[in-house]
């Protein structure tokens, strides 16, 4: 197996950091995985320079995923950091026949789900006080919010998609993982994965069609 990257997904390019750190408006997912093919092997041996290359190659995608997954998107940077720390610690155990990118997003997904559970538990504590509930004013949408634009509408709608459907939708459509890969990552059968993506898509279509009218 040697230095060959898992699944052939990691390709050598001349300047990964320049390519990844610039803001790419609408990249195809496959175009963002530029990484020296030997970086993972070197990082496994503790080479911090190689690990830096890995972070540079995947940080932006991880941040994008975490912001869309988290109940508290402001925690996304912390969650990405946590995922990379876990990854670095576990690198010696990484088997190169696994696809590195799948592994990274598997760890990140676990971090996000754990954080959401904690956030939801904390939020549920707040509403146990009925007197407090009565004092909370009804939610109103200001003109400023209404003018937030398409991006905000999409993020608001996605936040209402149940977490288990949202995660698969993001992995498939935004991060570009095939159903086959997601099945290996999650252990969920492809028929169930397709159903989750369909439910998320149906919800987004219904919500966003109203916005575009």
């Amino acid at each position: 197996m040697g230095d060959r990257p898992p699944g052939g997904a990691v390709r050598r390019i001349d300047s990964p950091s320049r390519r990844i750190l610039s803001s790419l408006p609408l990249p195809h997912p496959a175009q963002t995985a530029g990484l020296d093919a030997k970086a993972i092997s070197r990082a496994k041996l503790g080479d911090i320079g190689a690990f830096t290359e890995i972070v540079q190659a995947y940080y932006a995608r991880c941040l994008r995923f975490a912001r869309a997954m988290l109940v508290e998107p402001d925690d996304a940077e912390d969650m990405v950091q946590e995922a990379f720390v876990r990854l670095y610690r576990a690198l010696p155990r990484y088997e190169e026949r696994q696809r590195f990118e799948s592994w990274l997003f598997q760890i990140l997904g676990n971090c996000c789900r754990t954080a959401n559970t904690v956030a939801q538990r904390n939020a549920s504590r707040l509403v146990t006080d009925d007197a407090l509930l009565e004092r909370i004013p009804a939610e109103t949408r200001s003109d400023e919010d209404a003018l937030g634009g398409w991006g905000e509408s999409v993020r608001d709608a996605l936040a209402e998609v149940p977490e288990h459907n949202r995660e698969i939708f993001l992995l498939h459509y935004v991060e570009g993982f095939s159903y086959d890969e997601i099945e290996r990552m999650t252990g969920v059968r492809q028929s169930a994965l397709k159903m989750r993506v369909k439910r998320a898509s149906d919800f987004l279509r219904a919500r966003l069609s109203r916005e575009t009218r």
Binding site: A60, R64, E77, L204
Partner: protein, 200 residues
Amino acid sequence: MRDSRDFRDNAEPVVRRAIDELRRLPDVSDDAIAKVVSAAAVARVQPAADEPVFPARGRSWGRISAAAGLVAAAAIAGFVVRGTMTPPRSMRLAATTPIAPAAFSAERASEPIVEQFVFKAANARRVALIGDFNRWDASAKPMTRSPDGELWSVSVPMMPGRHVYAFMVDDSLLVLDPRAPKSRDPDLGAEGSVRIVGRP
């Protein structure tokens, strides 16, 4: 292997627009990268505050039922007693039993017990023991080759409880212990060998 087609093309137009919006990559500063790398480097050499190198006994045993623990311990003992490999006479006993007294008393529950790990790899140039007790650091516990060159061994003080480990061969190959039960890491998906230290 990644499918070359763009999955987004299968979505309905309004969903396609949403996907395009969601695919926008955020700007990332060099400082953010440096912060992550720094945190990872520190974490690799330093255990997290909430994650001791030697797991607390209660926490470790809480993960498996007492019955499962006994079964696992018995399995290890069974493998060991049968002797799936034949270490030299000088290390045969040490390889099969903890160096600490066999009786495990409650007052000693918080004290480490020295465990010996033995691995057969005649052709290896280097072998290291890695596990949750040394942060999976391949440089922390290099193993020593036996005089006949067949076996590698190392002794490690370990807290009572359940530990997951593996052998790193020639700095690149991760090998599980053929004599030990396996455990799948629920977080990372990778398999490890399990050693139960002490008994409840």
